[in-house]
Amino acid sequence: MAFKLRLNPITIRRLKRFRAIKRGFYAFLALCVASIGSLGLELVANSRALIVSYDGSLSFPTYGGVKLGSAYGLEGDAANTPVNYRELRERFRNEGKGNWVLMPLVEYNPNENNSYEGILRATAPSWDRGHYLGTDTTGRDVLARLLYGFRIAIFFALAFSILVYAIGILIGCLMGYFGGWFDLIAQRFIEIWSNIPFLYTVIIVFSILPLSLGLFSRVTVLLLALVAFSWVGLTYYMRTAAYKEKARDYTQAAIALGASPLRVVFRHILPNSLATIVTFLPFMVASAITSVTALDFLGFGFPPPTPSMGELLKQGTDNLSTAPWIVTAAFISLVLILTLVTFVGEAIREAFDPKKFTLYQ
């Protein structure tokens, strides 16, 4: 049975009120634009060019396979190595044959080590070199790492929230709807489960993971580990909500008509308790971002060289006096993201406040 989120008058009124809360609504728009926009991040921060005009024909190297130097008439060693588009741009400019290269806003990719004066080291922000927020200790562009780090964090947080909601709602609903022995066993399990210390478990899990494991599997393990320790909170709310809604007359009427438990849960109980549950979503996203940042800071988060705010914070605090720009940039962006998410959370909570919808006769 499909679960449809219906736009009934109550929902419409809630959404209208959400729109009316300017701060939260604009924060929501900003986050949406940033998240959806980050899908095309390769067009904003990349060491590959956006457009290359060579011998009168245009090429767009951003996506697709790596191009070798021979494609643009390079000779010698450069012909058989991947093109360095920044060098290619200089070369074309010096040649003056009308060929040109258009680079993205940030000309570096997040994992690229750029030596400065022959050594890899942190360099201060420089407009001329295109490192707008400087480089980190191994010469990687801080802005590029922050942007890619944001993309990973936000989608990780969304995936995390979806999983937590799915598990929390399912188990909470079952507990509240069926009650009885299932409820009892689940409650005892949750009590034990929520007493297992999260950080130690993650550290242990990561120390026994084989190093050969690929990046994707490691991120998946991290996601599942976080989810495993986070679904519990939602079950409390969902259990109570399901229990309460089941006892209400409209649900009883559906049961008297012969509605199946599935129908009762998905058509009646869930839509009516979603309003309270949805208000937790932004705070869950915020806590997921904080958690991965903290784990990254401790070195148990995303495997290197994944760009992340936590990893930058770590580097930044280690090199506080020599490279203060790293910690400044990472700190400001983390605060900015969390503030925006919190604004959205506040607005949703305010707009969805069930007290505002009590009907008095």
């Binding site: 219906r6 109550i10 929902t11 007359d249 409209y250 009427a253 559906a254 008297a256 008509l257 006769q361």
Partner: protein
């Protein structure tokens, strides 16, 4: 199973010694349990096309009985037979055809409608659940239901909060009759409504009954309302039926002091009326740990000693189809019914008399 084949009984609904006890936790320790005996051994029978009125103070277990009949609650013990089929042990699958036959109308119409559903969705749900008709047929049925309960067809795409209390109750009634049930339990369907709307809803219920030939179990805390609509009336006190008779018999010849108290509480617009007001002492005792013996004895205007009060009462047939709980504290001339030879204490042994013609309006 062929339902017609099993329906050998005269009665549509037979409830036999039904008990619904709720566990009540007392104190911090969940083990220490008391029981709230909301329904404590009730037997009733309802014929096809008949209206059975159930009255009693609030908290005496009326809703609990009604919900148990609709299988919205699991009975502790006893039997519920519908059309001869035992519902008490039926699984959800076996219940499914009977879900169409037994429906419930709730006291609070606002609570009984899902606020996220439009009227159309509310009306279509029964057909969707029982996989009846295609969408064209369903929307025809939605219109037919709106006509039947006297709501404009334009209501179909509105939401419950856009209606008044009376209109919402009409929606609740329409949903209950959508599947053409044989029995509807009406749980105080008018007591949450304005007095001006109450008689409209009662008339609607009576019109529907004469048109569709269904039976009602009509619950109210107020005898005046029940009197209008019922053929037989059962008076309930603290989880038990204390008196049951046809509507006319009950009003002309009430035996139980509790019934007399309820009747005397009905406001009578006739200034020449000479009746005396029967007053009860104290409050309704709690169904949790009720006092021993006769539950009513300590409130009866007939004062008896504690020793007499703690003796059990009997449920007897005083005259054809007129059943009453006898105890020194419940009936005047206590010895009198004892003088007659009376049948064994089983209210289901003999059929009560045929349904009475209805009494006039409110």
């Amino acid at each position: 199973m062929n339902r017609e084949a099993t329906g050998e009984s005269d009665y549509l609904l037979e409830v036999e010694d039904l008990k619904v006890h709720f566990p009540v936790r007392s104190g911090v320790f969940a083990r220490a349990r008391n029981w709230c005996k909301a329904v404590d051994g009730i037997s009733i029978r309802i014929r096809s096309g008949e209206t059975y009125g159930l009255v009693g103070e609030s908290g005496c277990g009326k809703s609990t009985l009604g919900k148990a009949i609709c299988k919205l609650l699991k009975p502790t013990s006893g039997k519920i037979r519908f059309d001869g089929f035992d519902l008490t042990s039926a699984s959800r699958k076996e219940m499914q055809p009977y879900r169409r036959d037994i429906q419930f109308i709730f006291q609070d119409p606002a609570e009984s409608l899902n606020s996220r559903f439009s009227v159309r969705e509310i009306f279509e749900e029964p057909f969707v659940i029982h996989k009846m008709g295609d969408s064209a047929e369903r929307s025809r049925k939605v219109n037919a239901l709106l006509d039947k309960v006297g709501l404009p067809r334009s209501s179909a795409d509105r939401f419950p909060f856009e209606f008044s209390g009376g209109q919402r109750q009409r929606i609740g009634i329409a949903r209950a009759i959508a599947l053409e049930p044989k029995l509807i339990v009406c749980d105080e369907p008018v007591s949450a409504l304005d007095v001006s709307v109450q008689s409209q809803i009662l008339n609607l219920l009576m019109d529907i009954q004469s048109e569709m030939g269904l039976s009602y179990m009509f619950i109210a805390h107020d005898l005046a309302v029940v009197r209008v609509i019922s053929d037989r009336i059962g008076v309930m006190y603290l989880g038990n039926i204390v008196e049951e008779a046809s509507a006319t018999e009950l009003f002309t010849n009430p035996l139980h002091e509790y019934t007399k108290a309820l009747i005397s509480a009905i406001p009578i617009p006739d200034p020449t009326f000479q009746g005396e007001r029967v007053l009860l002492r104290g409050d309704v005792p709690s169904p949790i740990d009720p006092p021993p013996g006769c539950a009513f004895a300590r409130r009866s205007p007939i004062e008896v000693s504690e020793e007499v009060a703690s003796q059990p009462s009997e449920y007897i047939q005083a005259s054809e189809g007129h059943w009453v709980e006898v105890h020194p504290a419940t009936v005047r001339n206590y010895d009198e019914p004892k003088a007659h030879p009376r049948p064994t204490v089983n209210p289901l042994a003999e059929p009560p008399e045929a349904p009475n013609p209805k009494l006039g309006g409110l």
